[in-house]
């Protein structure tokens, strides 16, 4: 294992220390239990939006704390959901009296830990709503699985709900907004290489030099199918087809097209992916009215990409364009 780390067990702590020094104007860090929170928290009368999850997906979630997006983020160990005490303390810290929204990605551990935290927070008299993001079309949803995983749409939901909260929408309105984004967003990813969890020390899965995994999860969970590597355009077709046909998106729909880097894929390749994804969307009659391209929900150093599409309406466009000022996403300010 070759990594720019000191000791594997200190990776999350030292990252947080770096964030604290780099962005004191935007965020503060609490340790034991660990969470990142807005420097000006709590914002009185504003719904607070919190997310959390395993580390290793940076900038999500800690990099999205700040004006117009998250009020707090709880980082777990690498690829491990955070614990209820983190979410509880973060919830108490940022509650401005208007209630707190928990945005939870659909993983068994995340769901259980966030449920316990929400129970405890309600016990302390804080109004909490939780919305689960499950947008990964690579997973066939059924009664016999844990359901679809939460991936790229999470980033879009955090931005849009954060903007809704800044407009002083109520907890129910912001939660409804989150459910709407989850209902209108679909994603699928692929990997060219595996990734290595620092405290494990060897790659999470074996992927031969000439093969790729289509439908990969953000923790290196195997996807739908493994096959020989193909040209980018063919890969993008394999990702876009299940996305477009799932809701399905129909001709005339306005969409946001988000091409995400998994951590090890350079921007030059992401733009090649975007070019083809845009072409496919346009051919289907979809109007790409907004986009996001870059590594925003990563899987450590995994090479690969995920594509997310979100149906947009006037409200979502306005909320997407609203000012945001976080370490990982910043415009309009």
């Amino acid at each position: 294992m070759k990594k720019l780390i000191n000791q594997a067990e200190n990776v999350v702590r030292e990252e947080l220390e770096g964030i604290a020094i780099a962005h004191p104007d935007l965020v503060k860090i609490a340790y034991d239990p660990n969470f990142v929170y807005r420097a000006d928290a709590p914002v009185k009368g504003k719904v607070a939006v919190i997310s959390g999850g395993g580390s290793g997906h940076e900038p999500m979630h800690g990099g999205f704390v700040g004006f117009g997006m998250l009020d707090a983020a709880c980082p777990g160990a690498v690829f491990t959901s955070p614990t209820p005490d983190q979410m509880l303390e973060a919830t108490k810290k940022v509650d401005g009296g208007a209630g707190v929204l928990h945005i939870v990605k659909n993983y068994t551990g995340d769901i259980m830990n966030f449920e316990m935290a929400a129970d405890l927070a309600r016990g302390d008299g804080i109004e909490v709503e939780a919305v689960v993001i499950d947008d990964d079309v690579a997973v066939k949803d059924s009664l016999y699985t844990a359901g679809r995983r939460g991936v790229g749409t999470t980033v879009l939901a955090e931005k849009i709900c954060g903007a809704g909260a800044e407009q002083r929408r109520s907890l129910k309105e912001v939660a409804d907004l989150c459910r709407k984004v989850n209902g209108w967003g679909r994603s699928m990813g692929m990997a060219l290489t595996s990734c290595t969890v620092p405290h494990v020390g060897k790659p999470t899965f074996d992927l031969p030099e000439d093969e790729m995994e289509i439908g990969i999860g953000i923790h290196g969970e195997p996807g739908r199918v493994r096959m020989k590597v193909k040209p980018a355009d063919e890969i993008v077709e394999m990702l876009m087809e299940p996305i477009i046909s799932d809701i399905p998106y129909k001709a005339g729909d306005e969409v946001l097209l988000f091409v995400n880097g998994m951590g090890g894929t350079p921007p030059i390749e992401l733009y090649i992916v975007y070019r083809k994804a845009y072409e496919i969307a346009t051919k289907k009659g979809l109007k790409v009215v907004r986009n996001l391209i870059g590594p925003y929900i990563t899987s450590l150093e995994m090479a690969g990409t995920s594509i997310t599409m979100l149906k947009m309406d006037e409200d979502l466009k306005k909320l997407w364009d609203a000012p945001v000022k976080t370490p990982g996403l910043r415009w309009g300010v």
Partner: protein, 212 residues
């Protein structure tokens, strides 16, 4: 003699040791069908439990189990944290104020702990989870109770049933947790959660082999 307070503490210490020894093994099992963190998570949680030992060494069994549960909830993360945390919290509720446990008490503890795990994780038998090891272990205790088996033998039979249940997860297709995303590809692998459950119950049988 029944399971005394000191025995309960020794069991927890044995869990700390066994989970440290099996850290890489559990992680390996998890890498095959999950996300390669179960061994590290359990080891981190039980190491934190070890740090709590000084403050619980003179407490009743209920307080010991409850403290273990709270510590696991705040240190393990993943699905294991809430599940094993709930396991020990429920065990603690059944043993509040108790200084010793007989076979019937231990059956009640395991039954409540298993019910807690099922309530939290909503898994059923055959879903390829901890429940597949814990359920036969609980059932074996019930049979042992009916047959008036000695405590030590009952614990051995319970651990043996957990082992069989754990191995029985190998051909199963996962229906809960991250492994369920694999569908048919999860078959052929032993469930890491069922494995840690077996290790914990085996540690109890080994630690309490002189109890009657």
């Amino acid at each position: 003699m029944p399971i005394a307070r000191e025995d309960a503490l020794n069991w927890i210490k044995a869990c700390v040791r066994v989970l440290a020894e099996n850290r890489d093994y559990l992680t390996q099992l998890d890498a095959a069908i999950g996300d390669a963190d179960h061994g590290a998570n359990m080891d981190r949680g039980f190491k934190a439990v070890m740090n709590k030992m000084p403050e619980i060494s003179d407490k009743d069994i209920g307080t010991i189990f409850k403290t273990v549960g709270m510590t696991l909830i705040s240190t393990v993360g993943g699905a294991g944290g809430p599940l094993y945390g709930t396991f020990f919290l429920q065990a603690g509720m059944k043993t509040a104020g108790k200084m010793e446990l007989n076979l019937n008490d231990w059956y009640t503890v395991l039954d409540a702990a298993l019910s807690g795990v099922i309530m939290r994780g909503k898994a059923e038998i055959g879903d390829k989870t901890m429940v597949d090891a814990l359920t036969p272990a609980r059932d074996a205790l019930k049979v042992a109770l009916e047959n008036h088996t000695t405590l030590a033998d009952a614990l051995d039979q319970s651990a043996e049933a957990a082992r069989a249940g754990m191995e029985g997860t190998i051909p199963l297709v996962a229906r809960k947790g991250r492994a369920s995303y694999l569908g048919e590809r999860s078959a052929g692998h032993q469930d890491p959660g069922a494995t840690s459950s077996y290790l914990i119950l085996k540690a109890a049988a080994d630690t309490w082999s002189a109890c009657t």
